[in-house]
């Protein structure tokens, strides 16, 4: 019964979305306020209906209602409650419902908080949100309905892929979708601006914080996914340039560019058409990201079973959205006259350079990801494009980008002076020199590249610190004055400092893990020891261990350094009887500077086990860097000026996006 209510709510939401995407648009064109007034209540009701559908599905999962085909195929009564709940979105159908729920959430936010937006703009934005919703709800109802019943219902479910029964992955899809769907705000505003033929100040004040929120969620989502791959797949790596990873990385790159160009629109009124185009690109890449993963056209560690009917539907939806919006852009963009003239060497100029580099980098990733698909479709044979391609194209483009990150904030708006900017960065250059020379002094392989990487990391962190110190006049005025300045520094400035410094940590982590990773693979009998990076790792024993819905072989490793016990590591090989599947649980010892990472493999039948031990220097810095970047985004969102787009609320509660 509850499932039928959910199903019915989804159908109602679909019809409502169709109304929401047409009536307000018509009203805005005719200037009829009765018709535009439909938009806001429709968006709020939309959230209610999709929310009911989502909760109905969640109830079916929690109650293990196996008469639903979706629950039977993806859940099991013996699964822990947490994974029953996250199981709702750990499958294709449910994840699409989550996608639409988040879309409805953003639509309701425009309806509820957008009281100060021009009436027609708000109606048009909500209509575009409605169109996206219509497409997705049709996709769910006609090809991926989670509420279909099976008869007779099976006694128990088939279980959830055990790789997905993990806290890291449980929250990876919602974060990723908050990011993807968050860009739909920028997209809807961009299309509405194209229809209106103008970008007004209210437009920029809305687009920037929502893009920032989407970007922060996407950063967190990608980091969670990468962290999960790192500890769960047991391969010791955290990024594989896998097509599915690239699919989430491309919207991130485009979104990062959008974030920066939106600043220019807001502050200087320039780059309007370009920002609109980036908004279209960021969301188009988000759609592509959702669908590349969901359609199963990619061969990847993430690729799942597929259904050709879905693939076609997806392709049509993508073509309509991307083709339609780009055609509208071509027709209307010339109308968006930008203001704010600036010299090439200026803050605007630096942001334009940032945009050019980021979009070019997005393009190289796009080519590498889609080239195999295109070649295959043209009958050119099956190929794969691996990490060497991305290392040879993406990395060289990032070097000038990262150098520019520290210089840009030092330049004045309109007309800057490169020499003054560089003079202010003297201290940062000193830091780069020390760090790079220090790296070169470490006799090791790959040292020149490693020195470049650590040097860039030092440049970013020191550059961010110097810029912050300049702003608060550190050491140049009495302590009290400095503290007052630090307190009054806009939150957006704090956010930028944090995000840029976090990027520096990330670069340091990437450099360390790719230059100095060491690994040992061997067969060990209990009592055997291996030496690695100054640690002595001894296999003590391998025993049985039981979990809630799995059994495991658990190894005990003793880790010693200089005869002193450092820690014990207990990696597992788990067996999930319901799904008939094995998973690897790596054991990781994290210090400030490195991870020691142990994996247990198969028994060799003679009392030994294959084991794999990695020493991964600076990997913890990767996660720290991502978290600091997200913190930067969150701090920036609390800036009062970013809330201008949102009306004053009765109490100073955080916006939904920062919660």
């Amino acid at each position: 019964m509850i499932a039928e209510i959910g199903h019915y709510a989804l159908v109602l939401a679909f019809i409502l979305a169709a109304v929401q995407s047409t009536v307000p648009l018509w009203g805005a064109a005719r200037g009829d306020r009765r018709l535009t007034a439909v938009a806001a209540p429709a968006a709020l009701l939309q959230l209610l209906l999709v929310g009911i559908a989502f909760l109905a599905l969640m109830q079916a999962y929690i109650a293990s209602d196996f008469s639903l085909a979706n629950v039977a195929a993806n859940s099991h009564s013996a699964k822990p409650l947490l994974y029953k709940i996250t199981g709702v979105w750990a499958n294709h159908e449910g994840s699409m419902v989550l996608w639409v729920l988040i879309l409805a959430l953003f639509g309701a936010a425009v309806a509820g908080l957008g009281g100060n937006l021009p009436e027609t703009l708000r109606a048009r934005v909500l209509a575009i949100q409605g169109m996206i919703g219509t497409g997705f709800l049709a996709f769910i109802l006609f090809t991926s309905n989670p509420f279909l019943r099976v008869f007779p219902p099976p006694l128990d479910g088939a279980g959830l892929n055990p790789l997905l029964q993990d806290p890291g992955l449980a929250f990876h899809p919602p974060m990723l979708y908050l990011g993807y769907v968050g860009f739909s705000m920028a997209f809807s505003f961009a299309i509405a601006a194209l229809i209106e033929g103008r970008v007004d100040p209210a437009w920029a004040r809305w687009v920037r914080p929502w893009t920032l929120a989407a970007w922060s969620f996407l950063t967190l989502g990608i980091a969670l996914g990468s962290w999960w791959a790192y500890y769960e797949l047991g391969w010791g790596g955290w990024w594989f340039w896998d097509p599915v990873e690239n699919a989430s990385f491309m919207p991130w790159l485009a979104g990062t560019a959008l974030l920066h160009s939106a600043i220019v629109v807001e502050k200087r009124g320039a780059l309007k058409a370009w920002t609109v185009l980036l908004a279209i690109l960021a969301f188009s890449l988000s759609l592509m990201g959702t669908f590349l993963v969901r359609s199963g056209v990619l061969t990847s560690v993430h690729a799942f079973a597929t259904d050709p009917q879905r693939g076609l539907f997806i392709l049509v939806l993508l073509a309509l959205t991307i083709g339609g919006s780009l055609a509208l852009f071509a027709l209307r963009a010339p109308r968006l006259k930008g203001g704010g003239v600036f010299a090439p060497i200026s803050r605007e100029g630096a942001l334009v350079l940032n945009n050019l580099l980021l979009t070019t980098a997005t393009l190289t990733v796009f080519v590498g990801t889609l080239y195999p698909l295109v070649l295959d479709a043209l009958g050119g044979g099956k190929i794969s494009v691996g990490p060497p391609y991305f290392e040879a194209t993406f990395v060289p483009l990032m070097i000038p980008t990262l150098i520019a990150v520290a210089i840009g904030p030092m330049l004045a708006w309109k007309r800057g002076d490169l020499r003054t900017a560089l003079a202010r960065l003297r201290l940062a250059m000193g830091a780069v020199l020390i760090v790079a020379l220090g790296t070169l002094a470490l006799a090791d392989a790959d040292t020149a590249l490693a020195a470049l990487g650590t040097g860039l990391a030092a440049w970013l962190i020191a550059g961010a610190a110097v810029e912050w110190a300049d702003r608060v006049r550190l050491f140049r005025m009495p302590l009290a004055g400095f503290l007052a300045r630090a307190r009054h520094l806009p939150r957006a400035a704090w956010g930028m400092t944090l995000a840029h410094a976090g990027l520096g940590l990330l670069v340091a982590g990437i450099t360390g893990s790719s230059a100095w990773q060491t690994e040992r693979i061997q067969v060990m009998q209990p009592g055997d020891a291996v030496e690695l990076a100054g640690y002595e790792v001894t296999l003590v024993s391998v025993g049985e261990a039981d979990g809630p819905n799995y059994t495991a072989e658990r190894a005990q490793f003793r880790v010693e350094s200089g005869g002193r016990l450092v820690t014990t590591l207990a990696p597992e090989k788990r067996f999930y009887p319901v799904e008939g599947r094995q998973t690897t649980e790596a054991a990781i010892h994290t210090t400030l500077l490195a991870d020691l990472y142990a994996v247990i493999g198969e028994a060799d039948g003679q009392g030994g086990w294959t084991t794999r031990i990695y020493h991964n220097p600076l990997v913890p810095w990767i996660w720290a860097g991502c978290l600091v970047m997200v913190a930067g985004g969150a701090v920036s969102l609390t800036d009062r000026r970013h809330r201008v787009g949102a009306p004053a609320r009765p109490r100073p509660s955080p916006t939904p996006a920062t919660a």
Partner: protein
Amino acid sequence: MAPKRRRMTVILVALALLGAAAALALTALEDSVVFFFSPSDLATKSVAPGQRLRLGGLVEEGSVQRGDGARIVFKVTDLATAVPVVYEGILPDLFREGQGVVVEGSLGPDGRFEADSVLAKHDETYMPPEVAEALKKSGHWQDGAESETGDKE
């Protein structure tokens, strides 16, 4: 600076960047594209030893043997031809006899495929598209198997 000249600067920088990126991408693609072979392809087409390629098919039943240390030998088959594969390391959790697999590496001088990575998939009902196609080509694809690749994730 006049808007026109400013626009020209931006366009020139953009073109230079795109040119550089295109040059990088083309050279990198040339060097790092890895072609996919089925076991039958490998037997009929000439492949230079040392050329990186991907080989996909089913892990032949009963062919998995453990060698010295972490060395593993198994055969990848499209049910017409089988190619011996040598791999050193820990096999992915989904590696199973009779299941689809894609290995990457190069052909050794002794005709054995030396793999440095073994990809098995997230899902036991999932067949890598390349493997499915290789089986279709060798005429051993069963439609029954297709219905097993349902909607499960």
